[in-house]
């Protein structure tokens, strides 16, 4: 077994051990059912909810908002990062603001967004975008900072224009950082959307968790929480595998 496979197996064993311990503690009554239900019961409840189609509308609601937020965060963050990178004075002015961005509790603006945009998906998408966009911008700036100057000189030798240089040299060279930006934007979009749905929305997985919590429906609440965790972890794992595959080409032998 290779070293990386051994590490992955150990990680999986640790996770399985934690789940098993939780299962045993719940079944033994050490943890009260009103506090936490056994993981197997969560899984069973989730299977039931999915099978019944009860969560379909919420899944579509949250999934659509996350997808839109991710697309906007990446679609705006990337060109904004490129533009700011090309304007050093603006960059100097923005750098401290970007660095301190995540110290601002963005959620406090959610009621304001609802007041402006209405109680629909728009405020959620804006919130998710506002969460992910700076991460994408910072990743883009980091990536562009690290493009080896010799590659830019090579672009000049080949007499490439600015856009051609950007498309053929700069962005491919910065791809690992851009990929990290996309991963962060996805994570932040999920956090922003679910949290936003939790507070004020009338649909979505966050709302489903909140609704179940208010009604003491522990089975439903934990089932949806498990679903959110599973989706977030699964998406991240997929991106990680894709990234690993791409980066393997660049790793020095």
């Amino acid at each position: 077994m290779s070293r990386s496979a051994a590490v992955a197996a150990a990680r999986l064993a640790l996770l399985a051990g934690a789940v098993l311990a939780l299962e045993l503690l719940c079944r033994a009554g050490v943890i009260q059912p009103l506090t936490l239900i056994p993981p197997s019961a969560m899984a069973a409840a989730l299977a039931g909810l999915l099978w019944s189609g009860e969560l379909n509308a919420d899944l579509i609601h949250t999934g659509g908002a996350v997808a839109a937020s991710l697309a906007l965060a990446v679609g705006l963050g990337l060109p904004l990062g490129v533009a700011v990178h090309g304007l050093p004075r603006l960059r100097r002015a923005l750098d401290p603001l970007l660095a301190a961005y995540y110290a601002v509790p963005t959620f406090v603006f959610y009621p304001l967004l609802v007041a402006i945009l209405g109680l629909n998906q728009a405020p959620l998408i804006v919130l998710g975008t506002a969460f992910g966009l700076p991460a994408m911008m910072m990743a883009t700036l980091n990536g562009l900072d690290r493009v080896p100057p010799v590659l830019l000189r090579t672009a000049r030798v080949h007499r490439l224009g600015r856009l051609d240089t950007l498309a053929s040299i700069v962005l491919p060279s910065a791809a690992p950082f851009l990929f990290t930006g996309c991963k962060l934007a996805l994570a932040y979009a999920v956090i922003g959307i679910i949290a936003g749905e939790f507070i004020l929305a009338d649909a979505g997985l966050g709302h489903a968790i909140s609704f179940a919590y208010d009604g003491f429906e522990n089975r439903t609440m934990y089932a949806v929480m498990l679903l959110v965790l599973g989706l977030a972890t699964g998406l991240n794992l997929l991106l990680h595998l894709w990234e690993t595959r791409l980066m393997r080409r660049r790793a020095r032998a």
Partner: protein
Amino acid sequence: MRPEARPRVGPGTREAPGPRGTAGARDAPGPRESHAVLSAVTRVYPGARPVAALGPVDLDLRAGEFFAVVGPSGCGKSTLLDLLAGLSRPTAGTILFEGRPVDGAVPEGLGIVFQEDASFPWLTVRDNIAFGLRRAGTDPAETARRVDYALGFMGLADFAAAYPAQLSGGMRQRVCIARTLVTRPRLILLDEPFGALDQQTRLLMGDELLRLWRETGATVLLITHALDEAAMLSDRVGVMSSRPGRFIDLVETGWPRERDSRLVAEAGFGTVTARLWARLRDESLKAIGGPGATA
């Protein structure tokens, strides 16, 4: 001094590029004609305390010759290359390539190999080599033909599908040379291309470089800090002073066109390197502020 004023020694004649040659016949000057000319070129880096990096420099590169530039660290060798390539503008003076002024843009017909690894890590060796041709809109069949030839010529045929990360430093440098070669430059500028390689690999890469120089008929300007490399590879070696760099000597090696690294064993080789070092020693001491430096 103006290096071009000195008579050539050695064979001097240059063959026209063969069918596989990379020098384009349309714009290429004939043998012994001026290919690139620098006249009273200076470069001063502006700032609170402006730095005079180069010059004034006069240089006449003859078509098809292999010219090396040696000089102490920081004397402006790479600045000279940047100016000639159009990667930066001179503060004063004029630069002509094939009779046309070079004014801050890389002219057509010119190729550069840098000291640093300039291979694109996201592209395979084949795609790296084809890069310039594809950007220039070369016919795909012609691109494939040239790339296949370059892969074979540079000993990279077995690695066409590999990524640069899977290659050694010397092989990656060969990829960069091949990428330059396939665009058929008439003037090839080499900025210490073997600087990161060990001595044995440098000698072997030098042999390959001489082979491609003969094959292509291109004019080559090599910037190097290695005197033996300059002496082995070149028809003429320009010796630069410490900063601001000026040419203080021009050494004609007199080697035959058909040559390789076995030259280092010949008696005349030591004579050439000794002359280079004799001119360079004081300048190098000046550059590092050594006690033996003469004014």
